[in-house]
């Protein structure tokens, strides 16, 4: 670390099965490997079966106090109910990442930055329709400025283990598609 103080919080929300929990873990794990403090908390319980699932991640250069965040600095949303639930909680000036293929209404707040991207389309285009989570994650990392592409690739292989090494490449392709999108997208939708 270069001595710069780092603190960021993000809530990631969508349907169970969309891989929100996974990209949350990927963020925390990759940041941990960089020597940062991290916490990851899932929503748990009946809402995970078919309904919405979410996780909260905090990354910090200092030991983390509260792992529970009322007003996150960023928000990743992969379905309509999650936008309903979490848009009001995003910190003013915060970043909202939307999967525009599944979120059918625009964000209503005007004091936040929205990055909407067709994550499902991009995932299909790179050859893995289940990697929409990685597309959005790419956009988040590109804007977040904490992790590098190498950090994410290392984190991914650490979490996947050897058995899924073949999945690494296509997931990183999806990630790159998201990065590209974030770099091209205007700051405000």
């Amino acid at each position: 670390m270069n001595g710069k103080s780092i603190y960021t919080s993000v809530i990631m929300a969508g349907f169970g099965g969309q891989g929100l929990m996974f990209i949350g873990k990927l963020l925390a794990y990759s940041a941990m490997k960089r020597g940062l403090h991290v916490t990851w908390i899932p929503s748990y319980g009946p809402e995970m079966r078919g309904g919405t699932a979410n996780c909260t991640v905090v990354v910090s250069s200092e030991p983390i106090g509260s792992p529970v965040i009322q007003k996150p600095e960023s928000l990743i949303v992969m379905n309509n109910p999650s936008l309903e639930a979490f848009e009001p909680r995003l910190k003013a000036g915060g970043l909202l990442f939307l999967n525009a293929d599944l979120v059918t209404r625009p964000a209503t707040r005007t004091d936040i930055n929205v990055i909407a991207l067709p994550a499902n389309d991009e995932a299909v285009r790179v050859g893995e329709h289940r990697a929409a989570n990685m597309v959005v994650f790419g956009a988040y990392v590109a804007r977040g400025g904490i992790l590098s592409r190498d950090d994410v690739a290392a984190g991914l292989s650490g979490l996947f283990g050897e058995k899924a090494a073949s999945k690494l490449e296509v997931n990183m392709k999806a990630f790159d598609a998201g990065v590209k999108y974030a770099q091209a997208a205007p700051a405000r939708a």
Partner: protein, 354 residues
């Protein structure tokens, strides 16, 4: 040391195995199922036994049996399941058997909910089962601390021949954080388990029982237990003081709420309000003296819990009339945000200023 990325539940399970725990008996309940899930894979690797019993009551009596034979043994559950175990816990405390019991608290009373809570404080620290007994109660606030305290819990249990409870909540159990495991062997000075049921070859039979029909003998046994609890209070109290030296307001909180309070304290200090935290790590024995010593130096103590006021009774007992003790709690599975704690402290400081 290599950092692993684990839930609190998994970290406790791994720490138990590293502490030499070779027997786990339990019955599933949210939010602690990752403990049995981990144990069912891990214990066979080290020649241990995992058994999912037919009920919580059966599992705690299996713990009674394994502990009676001198083995390191653990069970875990969450609030309603811990209530079911109380009969066995009382027996284990009466028979002075070492074991570790994990309670990942969820909202009650009754079957309640599955979200985090701290409303089993009374049950954990004051008894819960029948009779004059106490558990040794540890309250970790981070996944690392959960692992460290679980490693120690088995030593404490052996040292005092007493059941030790690790009291966490749904946040601690479900949360993932970096954790590294110390290479830790059981303490060298632990008493030998001469009382254990290991077969009578070459010696008279040991007896583990809790029935004691002679009142004078039973009273003596109770007094002996009390001596032990006094010894724990003298030797084992653990507490963290955070930014209390110049604090005008001290927050008293344990476990998950304590770490949320730390964030609140940072926010309060940025606003110029000098707040600090006293975090009991042992809930029994309770750090009465720490609170008594701090009380005259602060304007108010605010106890914050995920309950409607349980630990606050011990804080008041410690503090007496030396300062005002206030309370803020959320319950039923609601985890307070640090912003709410900030607001509560600001209300108190406004009153102080007036």
């Amino acid at each position: 040391m290599e950092k692993l990325f684990m839930t609190g539940n998994e970290a406790i399970a791994e720490a138990a195995v590293r502490a030499g725990c070779r027997y786990y008996f339990g019955y599933p309940i949210t939010p602690q199922n990752e403990i049995p899930e981990y144990m069912v894979k891990r214990l066979p690797e080290v020649g241990g036994v995992f058994l999912q019993a037919e009920s919580e009551i059966a599992s705690i009596f299996m713990v009674y049996g394994a502990a009676g034979s001198g083995a390191r043994v653990m069970t875990s559950s969450a609030s309603p399941g811990i209530s079911l175990k109380q009969e066995g816990i009382s027996y284990i405390a009466a028979a002075e058997l070492p074991c570790v019991i994990v309670n990942m608290m969820r909202g009650g009373p009754g079957l309640g909910g599955i979200q985090p809570s701290q409303s089993d404080y009374f049950q954990a620290t004051k008894g819960g089962g029948h009779g004059d007994y106490h558990l040794f109660v540890l309250a970790p606030a981070t996944v690392q601390e959960a692992a460290d305290l679980c490693l120690e819990a088995f030593d404490i249990a052996d040292r005092y021949r007493n059941p030790v409870m690790i009291l966490g909540d749904g946040v601690l159990g479900q949360m993932m954080e970096p954790v590294s495991f110390q290479d830790r062997r059981p303490a060298a000075d632990l008493p030998e388990k001469t009382w254990a049921l290991t077969g009578t070859k070459g010696r008279a039979a040991n007896v583990v029982k809790t029935l004691n029909l002679d009142p004078s003998v039973l009273e003596k046994h109770n007094l002996k237990l009390q001596e032990k609890y006094k010894r724990m209070a003298k030797e084992e109290v653990r507490v963290e003081c955070y930014q209390v030296d110049d604090a005008e307001i001290v927050i008293a909180a344990y476990g998950t709420v304590a770490r949320i309070a730390k964030t609140a304290i940072q926010a309060l200090r940025e606003k110029g309000i000098k707040a600090g935290l006293v975090r009991p790590i042992t809930l029994y024995p309770f750090p009465y003296k720490t609170f008594a010593d701090i009380a005259p130096k602060v304007r108010k103590i605010l106890t914050v819990e995920m309950s409607l006021g349980q630990m606050v009774e011990d804080v008041r007992l410690a503090v007496g009339d030396k300062t005002e003790v206030c309370f803020f709690g959320r319950c039923g599975g609601i985890v307070p945000g640090y912003e709410e704690i900030v607001v509560e402290v600001e209300k108190l400081t406004a009153k102080v200023a007036r």
